[in-house]
């Protein structure tokens, strides 16, 4: 007689799947810390009206050049304006210009890079030579030329031309990296299949190629926010970016700050620190994101 075969009573413990965020924090602790710094800056910039203790534009001649105190945590400038409040509002300026410049530059660069790789041949050759020319200019020189040519164009308090000026030097750098990633994707069988199915170029590029270069795109996007912030600060310092009395970190380092940095070093210390922290945070976050997303770095 056939004996009954008893099944072993195995109970599998439920697999605890950590969220992507938790995995990132564990794998990239420095990235997580920089991410927190970015979130704090974003929060401060977005809710500056509620976070900042003073109106950043309000002049108080009675409190000129006051050192850091309980009343003014980061002291005041030569007009008696609260530096802490100006640094918080400055985050809004820096992040807005940084984010949109990087976004604009990266999107344009990605489209150019993918198209160049996809079409190949003469289009690729011409695009790459154009990018070579663009890359031959130092980033600050190219931005200076563009901002001098375009002038100012304020939309909702943001200088759109300044964003364009900062975005243009980003375009060739992104295009070059994205093209190299897209070249390998172009040879994939599913691209051939899409072509065989009669899909148009636009559909193949945007539906099948662009999503596959998302990882390098995201990494560059975060890294270029840092560069854009630095560039905005440089242009403002040179008097070509944001103008007084708008709170902007680079601008806070120029003007009266250069007159009073001996008597009131806090006028340059805190905006300088803000620029450093922001640039460091975005760079570190970008690096961590690359390490986490790119399989080559997981070996």
């Amino acid at each position: 007689m056939a004996g009954a075969v008893s099944q072993p009573n195995v109970v599998y413990a439920p697999v605890k799947r950590r969220s992507a965020l938790a995995q990132f924090c564990i794998a990239q602790p420095l990235g997580a810390i920089s991410g927190v710094a970015i979130v704090v800056m974003l929060f401060g910039g977005a809710f500056a009206e509620y976070v900042a203790p003073y109106d950043p534009l309000a002049i108080d001649f009675g409190a000129m050049l006051a050192p850091p105190s309980w009343e003014h945590w980061m002291g005041t400038d030569a007009f008696g304006r609260d530096i802490f409040s100006r640094v918080i509002y400055g985050a809004r300026t820096a992040l807005t210009i940084g984010f949109f410049s990087s976004l604009f530059g990266c999107v344009l660069g990605a489209i150019l890079g993918v198209a160049s790789a996809y079409f190949g041949g003469r289009i690729d050759m011409l695009t790459q030579r154009f990018i070579d020319i663009m890359l031959s200019f130092p980033i600050i020189v190219l931005a200076l030329v563009v901002v001098a040519m375009l002038g100012r164009n304020l939309v909702a308090g943001v200088d759109v031309n300044l964003i364009v000026a900062i975005a243009i030097p980003i375009v060739p750098k992104v295009a070059r990296v994205v093209r190299s990633a897209a070249l390998s994707i172009r040879e994939m069988p599913y691209i051939d299949a899409a072509r065989a199915a009669g899909f148009g170029h636009l559909r193949i590029i945007f539906r099948h190629m662009v999503p596959n270069v998302a990882a390098p795109f995201l990494i560059m996007f975060t890294a270029f926010i840092a560069q854009a912030i630095l560039l905005e600060a440089s242009l403002s310092f040179l008097g070509l970016g944001v103008t007084e009395p708008t709170p902007a970190w680079g601008l806070m380092l120029s003007g009266n700050a250069s007159d009073f940095y001996r008597e009131a070093p806090w006028m340059i210390l805190f905006p300088g620190l803000a620029i450093s922290v922001a640039v460091f945070a975005f760079n570190l976050f970008g690096d961590s994101l690359r390490d986490w997303l790119d399989p080559k770095f997981k070996v």
Binding site: L57, A58, F61, F79, G239, T243, E244, P245, T246, N256
Partner: protein
């Protein structure tokens, strides 16, 4: 010579004495004179100095920025000039002597006979006539910002090659000072005949230095004019004016000796830094300044054609607080009316308090300003403030007024431009509201008030306003010889100007000039327009 003008000389001396007392009271020449015990001048050397803005063109007749004078004055001569050792008296330049008729209707100048232009042609009365004709009635396409000043000239006669006679339509007690204006470069009649606008783009004068080169964004150079008509001058072999628009760069250049002077003026903070770092190597001279900033409303644009809007914006500015605060960090010092505070025809403090926009109760003034804006239908007014991209004192002034207007709910975008586009925007009327300047070379009311005369008579009136009442009062005060009656007419003019608020004074400047101790022969004055020919400057090295 001047003996023939008994009445006016007396009046002139009274005015001069009052002015000297006033300027002394204001702290003019705080520092010791540069050349109190100066050694004998030495010849030779190239003098390098900083110019903190670059001139948009070379024509002083159509300019009112120091950038033109500091660039071009060494290349040109004028009929008379101010004697800075005895300011505000005048002395000879191309005119070796002059007479003024008792009725102030005729001015006769006898020119030096050895003056030549840099192309070798002699300077004659025909050149003076052509110059002054261009100043008072410029041909089409030529801009003269001194048209109103010389409107009283009827005819200019040239009885011989070295005599010029000015016949007036009406007496003007300040005319002799106007002939000493540093802006009235004498141009060659032959050059003007070929192209009336030639002085905008070419330099050809009879001054102590010949034009060398102008490299845009970099420098201007001049070399000694060996055929200069004043014996033994200039002392220098040449000069080099370096354009330095960034104050930090200029301070470093002064400290390092790359430039030996900056004649426009630096801020109190910059002065303190130079003294701290350079010690005895730097000479600092200070003076009140015949220069003020104005807020000008473009009356051809809405809503600034409405007096309620202009007056509201005028009243919202707390000038007294601004003067106190900005004096510590900027080259701004005094709150005052249309005439420089402390000068003979300036408004008295107690009277100024009663003028709109100058009262002590700023809260009440701002409440009234808000009411006026509501009444005008623009309670949430937004506009662009056109300003010059110069650190001192334009940027602090812009920051200050933006803050003041925010306090009555007005939203302002502060837009700064380099000197050329800034001036082009002002001249073409391509602005809403602007920070303007009144750049005077002496405390003569006809000069100070000329900017407020109707636009069709005075192109330097950037508000583009036409006001017959102001024109009438301007003409009346200019002809009035009695001090008190003239003072009263000026007060009427001032009241009308501030009531209508086409353009309103913001703050008056304070001049601080640094020079290296090796720079000799240059004289400090309350105007940065004077004494820039460099003919007497020498280097003690």
């Amino acid at each position: 010579m001047t003996d023939q003008i008994a009445f006016d000389r007396r009046q002139f001396l009274q005015t001069s004495t009052a002015l000297a007392a006033a300027t002394a009271g204001l702290g003019l020449f705080d520092a010791a004179p540069a050349n109190a015990q100066a050694p004998a001048p030495r010849r030779g050397g190239t003098f390098t100095f900083a110019i903190s803005a670059e001139t948009p063109h070379y024509d002083a007749h159509g300019s009112d920025t120091f950038a033109t004078l500091h660039f071009a004055a060494p290349f040109y001569s004028t009929l008379l000039q101010f004697d800075l050792a005895d300011y505000p008296k005048v002395k000879a330049d191309l005119a070796r002597e002059w007479t003024v008729a008792d009725d102030l209707m005729t001015y006769t100048f006898r020119l030096v006979t050895n003056a030549t232009f840099h192309d070798g042609t002699p300077v004659t009365s025909a050149d003076v006539k052509a110059t002054y004709d261009r100043l008072r009635a410029p041909p089409t396409g030529v801009v003269s910002t001194r048209q109103a000043t010389f409107a009283d000239i009827d005819v200019i006669e040239t009885p011989d090659a070295h005599t010029v006679v000015f016949k007036m339509k009406a007496p003007n007690p300040a005319m002799i000072e106007h002939f000493a204006s540093p802006w009235n470069f004498i141009y060659s009649a032959a050059v003007l005949a070929r192209d009336p606008n030639a002085p905008r783009t070419t330099v050809m004068g009879s001054g102590p230095f010949r034009f060398g080169e102008h490299v845009r964004g970099s420098h201007v150079t001049g070399t000694r004019n060996d055929r200069y008509f004043r014996e033994g001058r200039p002392y220098l072999d040449g000069f080099r004016g370096v354009f330095m628009t960034q104050p930090a760069a200029m301070m470093n250049a002064l400290q390092g000796g790359q430039v030996l002077a900056e004649f426009r003026g630096i801020s109190p903070a910059e002065r303190d830094r130079l003294v701290q770092v350079m010690g005895e190597r730097v000479r600092i001279e200070e003076s009140s300044w015949t220069l003020n900033l104005l807020i000008v409303f473009n009356t051809e644009k809405k809503p600034f054609d409405d007096v309620r809007v202009r007056r509201a914006l005028h009243m919202a500015i707390d000038r007294r607080a601004g003067a106190q605060g900005l004096a510590r960090t900027a080259t701004l010092r005094d709150a005052g009316g249309l005439i420089r505070p402390g000068s003979p025809f300036a408004i008295k403090d107690e009277d100024l308090l009663r003028m709109p926009g100058f009262g002590r109760d700023i809260a009440a003034a701002r409440a009234e300003a808000r009411r006026l804006l509501r009444e005008a239908g623009v309670p949430n007014l937004t506009f662009v403030l056109h300003n010059r991209n110069l650190a001192q004192p334009y940027t602090p002034a812009g920051i200050f007024v933006v803050d003041q207007w925010r306090q009555i709910g007005v939203n302002v975008e502060h837009r700064q431009s380099e000197t050329s586009p800034y001036l082009a925007g002002m001249s073409s009327g391509n602005f809403d509201v602007a920070v303007d300047f009144s750049n005077l070379f002496m405390d003569e009311p006809s000069l100070s008030l000329a900017k407020y005369v109707s636009f069709n008579r005075a192109p330097e009136n950037r508000s583009r306003a036409i006001d017959a009442e102001l024109d009438r009062l301007y003409a009346a005060q200019g002809r009035e010889r009695d001090f008190q009656r003239r003072y009263d007419l000026i007060r009427q003019f001032e009241r009308r100007a501030l009531d209508q608020a086409y353009q309103v004074p913001l703050l008056w400047w304070h001049r601080i000039v640094p020079t290296h101790r090796t720079v000799m022969g240059w004289q400090m004055s309350p105007s940065h327009n004077l004494g820039q020919s460099l003919g007497d400057v020498w280097l003690n090295v």
